[in-house]
């Protein structure tokens, strides 16, 4: 369903669950009104995410606050809803905490592009729609953000 991804994208951009809910709901309602402008041949998800993300950004400007991303309480142990992916299983709890802490401290632009691509698993096109930029910009921001993240983690390789 699109509800989950729309809400999480809005949460990332708006920074609070309440704002994200409103933004996602307004986004869906606006999407309804805009059907006439949607071309049936175009992929639907980026179009929807763009509208929702725009709502989320507007809310965030209005409130100016942001909750930091946090780890699940029981992350890694027995997370109830899903078996950890092979990638997740490779990460120690310490490494996860370190990664997220560094990610949270990155400049907004870097943090958002990394979160869209890796935490929400959005495609480049969807990330561009959510961040209101071009695909090429997503690529270059992503490369810079990864570099900065690696630098902040104090790594030289990887």
């Amino acid at each position: 369903m699109y509800q989950g991804i729309a809400f999480r994208t809005a949460y990332l951009l708006a920074g609070s669950a309440a704002d994200a809910e409103e933004a996602a709901q307004d986004g869906f309602v606006k999407a309804h009104r805009a059907l006439g402008r949607f071309h049936a041949g175009a992929p639907f998800r980026p179009w929807l995410l763009k509208i929702v993300a725009n709502e989320a950004r507007n809310r965030r400007r209005a409130t100016g606050r942001r909750e930091q991303l946090a780890l699940r309480a029981a992350a890694g142990a027995a997370s109830g809803d899903a078996a950890p992916s092979p990638e997740a299983a490779l990460l120690s709890a310490e490494r996860r905490a370190e990664l997220l802490a560094v990610l949270n401290r990155l400049p907004e632009r870097d943090r958002l592009v990394l979160a869209c691509r890796y935490l929400l698993d959005l495609s480049e096109e969807e990330t561009a729609a959510a961040l209101a930029c071009r695909r090429g910009t997503v690529k270059s921001r992503l490369a810079r953000a990864l570099e900065r993240l690696r630098g902040d983690l104090g790594e030289t390789d990887g």
């Binding site: 369903m1 699109y2 509800q3 989950g4 991804i5 729309a6 809400f7 999480r8 949460y11 669950a17 994200a20 809910e21 996602a24 709901q25 869906f28 309602v29 999407a31 309804h32 009104r33 059907l35 006439g36 949607f38 071309h39 049936a40 041949g41 175009a42 992929p43 639907f44 998800r45 929807l48 991303l69 946090a70 780890l71 699940r72 309480a73 992350a75 890694g76 997370s79 950890p84 992916s85 990638e87 997740a88 299983a89 490779l90 990460l91 996860r96 990664l99 997220l100 990610l103 990394l114 691509r117 890796y118 935490l119 929400l120 698993d121 990864l146 993240l149 690696r150 790594e155 990887g158």
Partner: protein, 222 residues
Amino acid sequence: MAELERELSGLAAAVEFPPAPDLAGGVRARLGERRRPRYRRLVAIAVALVAVAVGAAFAVPDSRSALLRFLGLKGVTVIQVDEVPAVGPGPLVFGERATLARARRELGFKPLLPRLGRPDDIRIDSAARELILLYRGRIRMSEFQPGGSIITKLTKVGGAVEPVRVNGGHGLWVPEGHLVFELGRQPRLAGNTLLWEQAGLTLRLEGRLTEAQALKIAASVR
């Protein structure tokens, strides 16, 4: 580089996002409260459907398809397009098993029934506020009050969507091979379907039925 990217992907499952609220309910409520000309309301409902119901696995295929024509009943929009996106048939039965008495209590309307004997299965889908009845393993009747379930159907231009009258109300006959979006469900390829309005409800009869058979069953609905 690749290693760090893998680690970030691995982090995804460990990050806490607040649970997504039920957006469909709010969206539906807000659509319901709008007072707009019928045509615009239909457009709104159509997108509601596309936006909310389209499963993540489904993407409208790359085609030059354009929305060309709208036909509708309360709670149902039929859109004729150049090309119907390819999807498979999906499940026809949703919701919880129930008795007719319970359906009446929970859905807040008196179920209308065709003269087909006892249904094989009675379901209520509380989210869509819809009653689903199955007969003879191949005929499905569903009913809802406008404002409950929202349905959009995409048919090919030139497909024979036919306005009909059923028990004094408006109806539409939509032949098989069209795509149906229902709020909160996977889009699927639908069979021959008769839709009509009766006693404040929107009813839908779907199955391996000719138009004449469907109209005959519909005429028996009380």
